[in-house]
């Protein structure tokens, strides 16, 4: 973890988690019910809980589910995020710090009282981070030359992350007998002389390597994404992209380079809709309150009514107007419905950007301190 901005963000995420837990604990049953209701429509809810995630990762997961059709209100998604972060969160700072040293602590958690849900066996090896750290020393002394820093193998020895023996091992019960039979070690000493504690520690280290290979592993982070040409980005902003039609570097975009981490900023300018997982009220680039998509409905004999979308399909349309009143209609040929999407221009642009455009725009936006 060398990026201070990232660390700040992660610290913020953790403090959010702590605050959430204490403030929201009494509502956790209700949040769990919301989670079951919204997420359970597509899969057994527990299947989502196989890997503990940071708040940012849970937000990302929820956004992805919304893209795949998950249905819920902003409040429901906020409750779900709250539930996931507090019950199935990861300590992002600890993870990141450990990741910087090439490993992480902990194993996938199991929901209390829940069904077996995660990848792999229910009785899987649970990593003791401190033991894994000690195991790393044994690794460095005896194994690293042949099996590599990350146990992924070298020309002289196979990957142990992919080894069946390690996959089947629990706390050294396979590794121990294997090593006691005798296996070359780089110090020249006999592997049979490794103590039970050393074997257990090696086992913790190897399982840590194994779990860090799985998808969603917290050691997998976005690297440097600011690779573009800021000048070319400014030219695109004021030229072909016509971004300056709606935005100004000294107005609504002032300070975005300071406000957001680069990868987040990249995600926001590609699609500035508020992420569903953040409760829909988070600040978009466009202003302090995210603009909603609205419909303007004009009945055959009547004045147009505009409101946020509640239902919109081939058969029905329903909106909630600015005063909070709910209006619903059957869709007919005589009922005029116009969609007002404040983000439509971004949807047009995403179909036009080259990767160079994308990187250049980001390089420009990060200069807006």
């Amino acid at each position: 973890m060398t990026n201070p901005k990232m660390l700040t963000r992660l610290l913020a995420a953790v403090s959010f988690t702590a605050a959430t837990v204490s403030a929201q604990q009494p509502d956790m049953a209700a949040s769990k019910a919301t989670f079951d209701k919204v997420c359970g429509t597509c899969h057994t809810p527990e299947s989502a809980l196989s890997t503990p995630r940071t708040k940012a990762q849970w937000e990302e997961s929820i956004d992805k589910m919304v893209q795949l059709g998950a249905k819920g209100t902003d409040d429901e998604f906020a409750a779900i995020l709250n539930f996931l972060v507090s019950q199935y969160g990861r300590d992002a700072v600890t993870d990141a710090a450990l990741a910087g040293r090439g490993g992480r602590g902990g194993a996938p958690a199991r929901p209390a009282g829940g069904i077996a849900a995660s990848a792999g066996a229910e009785d899987k090896h649970v990593v003791d981070a401190a033991a894994a750290d000690r195991g790393r020393k044994v690794w460095a002394a005896e194994c690293i030359n042949c099996h590599g820093t990350y146990a992924r193998g070298t020309d002289n020895g196979p990957s142990l992350v992919r080894a069946d023996l390690v996959a089947r091992d629990r706390y050294g019960n396979q590794l121990g007998p294997f090593l006691r039979k005798g296996h070359p070690m780089q110090s020249g000493s006999a592997s049979a002389n490794l103590t039970a504690a050393q074997i257990s520690e090696l086992s913790h280290f190897l399982h840590q390597r194994l779990y860090d290979t799985l998808r969603g592993s917290p050691i997998f982070i976005v690297h440097d994404v600011v690779t573009g040409d800021a000048k070319a980005g400014a030219a695109y902003f004021n030229g072909a992209g016509k971004c300056n039609t709606c935005h100004s570097p000294t107005g609504d975009l002032a300070g975005v380079g300071r406000k957001y981490e680069a990868a987040t900023l990249q995600a926001i300018f590609l699609n500035p809709r508020p992420p569903a997982g953040r409760g829909g009220r988070g600040p978009g680039v466009g202003g302090p309150v995210a603009k909603p998509v609205t419909l303007t409905v004009t009945p055959p004999s009547g004045t147009p009514i505009t409101g946020v979308v509640v239902i919109f399909d081939d058969f029905d349309v329903a909106i909630r107007d600015a005063s909070g009143e709910y209006h619903a209609w059957k869709r007919t040929r005589d009922l005029k419905v116009v969609k007002n999407d404040p983000y439509a221009a971004h949807d047009e642009l995403i179909q036009q950007y080259t990767d160079k455009n994308m990187h250049d725009i980001l390089a420009y936006l990060v200069t807006l301190k």
Partner: protein
């Protein structure tokens, strides 16, 4: 016989009637009073010849019954055999009266782990039912009472495999796929003896030794043997050719691909296997060197069609990567390659009809803007083909996302990256002319939809929209004709059958099975 014993005998007869085994002849017929396998029949086209419910009367379709499992989401396509529906969710199987929705039995498995993301359904052979569990078990139940007959092992849970796909019965073979792309393991398709559960043959999606055909598309044996290619989809089958058509998943490592240079056969492919031996007859690669988790495990739909006035045995696939392929299923030769949505990841099409991946659109450290996204232009929910309209219908989604490389190691393993952000521009049903690959009509949904489809001789396509409705579209025009709100998105592929002169449509949404019937006409 007293009245009482007569009544008992009559009851027993009714009960027995509902629990009869599957007549194997039903597997070779168009489904009318049954839905005897996952795709309805071996072709995978999910077309019903029933037309009591049709475009002119579908607005009278009404609720017959609902059955609520109380267990997560149903992704399974139910089977309907002798008036009983058989369907599953991870670790669970139910038998439900197809006329009334009444539960006959419920089997629950005590799990030892594995990913519980979904279960696509069961298979029935005679009096026996087969299904896979997340913890890698292959289980046989008695269809009469749901009691376990035996359980066998289909995969190694410690290697992070799991079970989710519905088995397929072909002659005396129970053919099952395998799931799991968390670690770098090879995918395979297995054939088991229906009586003993013993393995008859196993075909690996990746060659097992250098020098074998396909090994030239891998840099070394280590990469190849850990090269993935899970068999997430239920195969289709041509009884005349005795070929099973299986589609294979993404190569491993999934996103970080530095150590698996080459096309990575037979991942991301359609493969024809001899049903009795598992020997490969031919392959066609839909996604060479996939780096986007797209796989090719959509349904390989068999079409008996006509090209240039000649009757042809064809196979159509609308792939997750946005491409539509039409092949000659006797030999795998490509006849049509087109896109059913705009895509930006390929440089063109090679001489075999496979897309050529653009290296610039492979995952990058600073991100590559790619369409479709990881969810894909389509995904596992089944498409349908209507021989009446000559149209191949597929649920599609148009989306962009940014693919990042996280793991920069020379020997990446597992995933090593993912896609993030971006936008879904819309979801729709695309009606594709199978002969040309051209879009005949497109019906766009407001909101996201990932529902499976079914077409019928009533000129209908059943689908699910973004508002939790099941919707009937006019199969010729795409016009929406009927809907019913289900309170949750359509979660599987709908089925239809006729019992006692009544045509039913059964669909899952959330944890509930919904049955609609045409009772008035």
């Amino acid at each position: 016989m007293t009245l009482r014993t007569f009544a008992s005998a009559a009851l027993a007869a009714v009960a027995l009637h509902g629990q009869e085994g599957l007549n194997p002849a039903k597997l070779m017929e168009a489904p009318v009073d049954t839905w005897p396998m996952y795709h309805g029949d071996y072709s995978g086209r999910r077309f019903s010849t029933l037309s009591k419910i049709n475009a002119s009367n579908v607005d009278s379709l009404s609720l017959a019954w609902i059955y609520r499992t109380g267990v997560g989401g149903i992704k399974a396509t139910p089977l309907q055999i002798n008036g009983v529906l058989y369907f599953s969710a991870p670790d669970h199987v139910w038998a439900v009266d197809a006329r009334s929705g009444r539960e006959l039995w419920h089997f629950a498995w005590q799990s030892k782990g594995g990913i519980h993301i979904g279960n696509r359904g069961v298979a029935v052979y005679g009096n026996w039912l087969y299904f896979l569990t997340p913890d890698c078990n292959f289980i046989s139940l008695n269809i009469k009472d749901g009691k376990e007959r035996w359980h066998k092992t289909n995969c190694d849970l410690d290697q992070f495999y799991y079970g989710s796909v519905a088995p397929l019965v072909v002659k005396n073979h129970i053919i099952t796929g395998v799931s799991g792309d968390d670690l770098d393991r090879p995918g395979y398709l297995s054939s088991y003896d229906p009586e003993t559960g013993d393995l008859q043959w196993r075909w690996y999606s990746v060659p097992q030794k250098m020098g074998e055909p396909g090994s030239e598309t891998w840099p070394n044996e280590e990469a190849m043997k850990h090269g993935g290619g899970m068999t997430w989809q239920v195969p289709t089958y041509d009884p005349e050719l005795n070929l099973v058509y299986v589609t294979t998943g993404n190569p491993q490592p999934v996103i970080a691909h530095k150590n698996r240079a080459g096309a990575n056969l037979y991942t991301g492919s359609i493969v024809a296997l001899n049903a009795d031996t598992g020997k490969m007859a031919w392959y066609f690669q839909a996604s060479p060197h996939d780096t986007h988790d797209w796989d090719a495990t959509q349904v390989p739909v068999l079409i008996d069609g006509e090209i240039d006035g000649h009757k042809r045995k064809l196979l159509a696939l609308a792939a997750r990567n946005g491409y539509f392929f039409l092949l000659d299923r006797t030999n795998g030769k490509n006849l049509v390659t087109s896109t059913f949505l705009p895509v930006n990841w390929a440089k063109g099409v090679d001489k075999n009809g496979s897309p050529i991946p653009d290296p610039a659109k492979m995952p990058q450290t600073d991100g590559a803007l790619v369409s479709p996204n990881q969810g894909g232009a389509t995904n596992w929910p089944p498409p349908t083909f209507s021989p009446q309209t000559g149209l191949f219908y597929v649920g599609a989604a148009r989306a962009y996302s940014v693919y990042y490389l996280f793991d920069l190691d020379e020997q990446p393993q597992g995933w090593g990256g993912t896609d993030r952000g971006g936008v879904t521009l819309g979801s729709m049903v695309q009606a594709i002319d199978y002969k040309t690959g051209k879009i005949r009509w497109s019906h766009k949904w407001e909101g996201g939809s990932r529902a499976g489809l079914m077409s019928t001789a009533g000129n209908l396509v059943f689908a699910g929209d973004g508002s939790n409705n099941i919707v009937a579209l006019n199969a010729t025009t795409g016009d929406p004709l009927w809907h019913a709100g289900l309170g949750a998105p359509v979660g599987n592929g709908p089925i239809t059958y006729e019992l006692d002169g009544t045509q039913y449509v059964v669909v899952a949404a959330g944890d509930t099975l919904w049955s609609f019937a045409m009772r008035s006409k």
